[in-house]
């Protein structure tokens, strides 16, 4: 039993470790091409992120959004589906939350208002997730292309609504919500002063825990993973594959939509054009590096958030764009190592012949 546990760990951890190694090497090259010393730059990166409270707060803030999108993508993958639409699901969730926030009367108690806005965010993302789900089940339309296309459509639609009807003049955002939102962490922990980190991180961790429970402890989660692993065996086990796909896309969209509250309820208290900022796509990287497991997603989210914030911290020495290069390299490296590691491990441990 312990050897199987070890094998599981190997297959799960090797790819991210490989990726980390590749990222380090690449980082070294890029830093040196700028005439800087990697050691100094890496130290600066760590100091600017985990080394001070403000930086750490920013890391937490960025990681929060990535946890949501990472969970969303990984849930889809567990069901055998590739959700590339987290970007627009995130935006739609944030938008609906902001919309409801505007509509609610300012006299409503803050907690209730926030709660309702959270529900709105979930619904917003779920709707956008349901569309590719339905198209797949009904028409067999591949969810990768549909979600990519839908990203553009939804973002254009939101752009229109805000630009045409709702925006505060001279800006690209909606008016501020009156009821307040999710408190910033700085109000509890003064050290975080100035950072955008807010209570949404708690929601994110709860979401991760709930996702874990759903996937590994619930009946529908059992069925969903079965569909993702061996759809024919799931069918044999009485599982309705189409309904499972639909469920997966709706839940995936819902989680991504929920991520919108980080910005809309926790940071700026309004919806702003482009606030998603690529987090939806980065969620794919987070899911991949996190090996589609809620715990891995949280860790991977922290990793990518650290990279992102770290880029700002080292900006004086190396352009922060280096981080973007590293992101791409890490994703490629992990994607390449997953099948390779699996094949190598399989060769190494041949099954006992009867």
């Amino acid at each position: 039993m312990s050897s199987r546990f070890r094998e599981n760990i190997e297959e799960a951890l090797f790819p991210p470790l490989v990726a980390l190694l590749v990222a380090l090497i690449c980082g070294d090259l890029l830093i040196m091409s700028y005439g800087q010393s990697p050691a100094i730059v890496y130290r600066l990166l760590l100091e600017g992120t985990w080394g001070n409270a403000y930086g750490f707060g920013q890391v937490l803030y960025k990681a929060t959004t990535l946890i949501f999108t990472g969970l969303a993508v990984s849930l889809g993958i567990r069901a055998g589906l590739f959700n590339v639409g987290a970007e627009s699901q995130l935006a739609a969730g944030g938008f609906l939350a902001a919309l409801l926030g505007l509509a609610l009367s300012p006299s409503m108690p803050g907690i209730l208002a926030v709660f309702l806005c959270i529900i709105a965010a979930i619904i917003g993302g779920a709707i956008v997730g349901a569309i590719p789900g339905w198209l797949k089940v009904r028409f067999g339309a591949h969810e990768v292309i549909v979600t990519i296309m839908l990203n553009f459509i939804v973002l254009a639609l939101l752009n229109y609504i805000v630009a045409a009807k709702l925006h505060v003049p001279e800006t690209l955002h909606t008016p501020e919500i009156g009821n307040g939102g999710l408190a910033r962490l700085e109000s509890f922990i003064p050290a975080f002063h100035g950072s955008a980190a807010n209570l949404t991180i708690v929601v994110a961790l709860i979401a991760a825990a709930l996702t874990w429970i759903y996937l590994f402890k619930s009946r529908r989660g059992y069925e969903m993973r079965a569909v993702g692993l061996q759809p024919e065996a799931a069918e044999y086990g009485g599982v309705n594959v189409g309904a499972t796909w639909m469920r997966a896309m709706v839940l995936s969209g819902a989680i991504a939509g929920l991520g919108g509250i980080n910005y809309v309820l926790g940071y700026k208290y309004y919806y702003e054009e482009g606030f998603a900022g690529g987090s939806g796509f980065l969620g794919i990287a987070v899911a991949l590096v996190g090996r589609n497991h809620p715990l891995g997603v949280v860790l991977a989210a922290l990793f990518f958030a650290t990279l992102s914030q770290g880029g700002l911290a080292i900006h004086a020495f190396v352009p922060k764009q280096m981080v973007e290069v590293l992101q791409g390299v890490v994703i490629l490296a992990v994607a390449m190592s997953v099948p390779e590691v699996r094949a190598a491990l399989r060769r190494a441990r041949k099954p006992a012949t009867a």
Binding site: A141, I145, A156, I284, L332
Partner: protein, 289 residues
């Protein structure tokens, strides 16, 4: 609205799509998913700018752009074919990588986060409406040339066979991986030329100047059912819609955002099979043996 100006503007808008979609067609016909067209385009645009800047010649820029596209195409090919990585993921990774690399070297070479200095390019004569840009002519020719390649040459036949039934092809001694490598390399070069056109037409590179054109090209490939000529027509259709929106700017008949949506909505409709099925090559996305 002047029909001549409409047509010329439409063509100028269509050229990047034509190049990129052609690249997408050949790669996907060979069975490799091509979501990386955006990345190839951006790389091509930047490499061309670098080349034109350091050499002073636009044609060197073109070669540099093609080379950049080739490199990125090969990265995609190695990851997808040799390492059998998930082709959707590698496509997205290439796009992210292109953004990062172009931004990084933009800073490094030109000390700017937003744009390069002005470089040698093509065109610029207002009266010629862009037709003094040789790349424009190339762009118009790319689809028929690709159609010829795919349907009239032995290589094209093999590409089609590998994309539909790789086992059949390899049972006849065809090296399926090699066919796919070549197809993806070509796609990288072609899509990059789309970016080269953009950069050299504007005589400079600006950050993320491709602005999602690569995905419109993907839409064109699918809407055109993976046929070079149909995909080209789709490109023209999408370009026409865009031109319409630009020229009707003042009228505000239909908000611009809805015109933007057209290519994407049409593609979803095509996938759902509402107007006849868009069936991809049968072996698309499956790593060849």
């Amino acid at each position: 609205m002047n029909p001549i100006s409409f047509l010329t503007q439409m063509i100028r808008i269509a050229v990047p799509y034509l190049f990129a979609a052609s690249g997408g067609v050949i790669a996907e016909r060979s069975g490799i998913i091509s979501l990386s067209l955006e990345g190839y385009m951006l790389t091509g645009a930047f490499s061309a700018t670098l080349g034109a800047h350091y050499s002073g010649s636009a044609w060197i820029g073109v070669l540099a752009g093609m080379f950049g596209g080739l490199i990125f195409g090969l990265i995609h090919a190695v990851a997808s074919i040799r390492y059998r990585a998930d082709q959707v993921v590698t496509g997205i990774a290439i796009n992210l990588l292109a953004i990062g690399v172009t931004r990084f070297f933009l800073k490094l070479a030109f000390a700017s986060s937003s744009n390069s200095p002005r470089v040698a390019g093509f065109g610029g004569n207002i009266n010629a409406h862009g037709f003094d840009n040789p790349l424009l002519w190339m762009g118009l020719l790319v689809a028929p040339v690709l159609a010829f390649l795919v349907y009239r040459t032995p290589f094209g036949l093999r590409v089609r066979a590998v994309g539909e039934h790789p086992a059949a092809a390899s049972s006849l001694g065809i090296k399926t991986s090699l066919v796919q490598y070549v197809a993806v390399a070509i796609s990288g070069i072609l899509a990059a030329l789309g970016g080269v056109f953009l950069a050299l037409d504007q005589h400079q590179f600006t950050d993320q100047m491709t602005a999602g054109r690569g995905f419109i090209a993907v839409a064109a490939v699918i809407f055109g059912r993976w046929d070079p000529v149909r995909a080209a027509l789709a490109c023209l259709l999408f370009a026409a819609a865009e031109t319409l929106q630009i020229q009707l700017q003042g009228n505000q008949l239909i908000p611009s955002q809805f015109i933007e949506m057209i290519p994407y909505a049409l593609t979803i409709i095509a996938l759902a099979g509402v107007v006849g099925r868009a069936v991809p090559p049968a072996a698309l996305g499956k790593a060849a043996e």
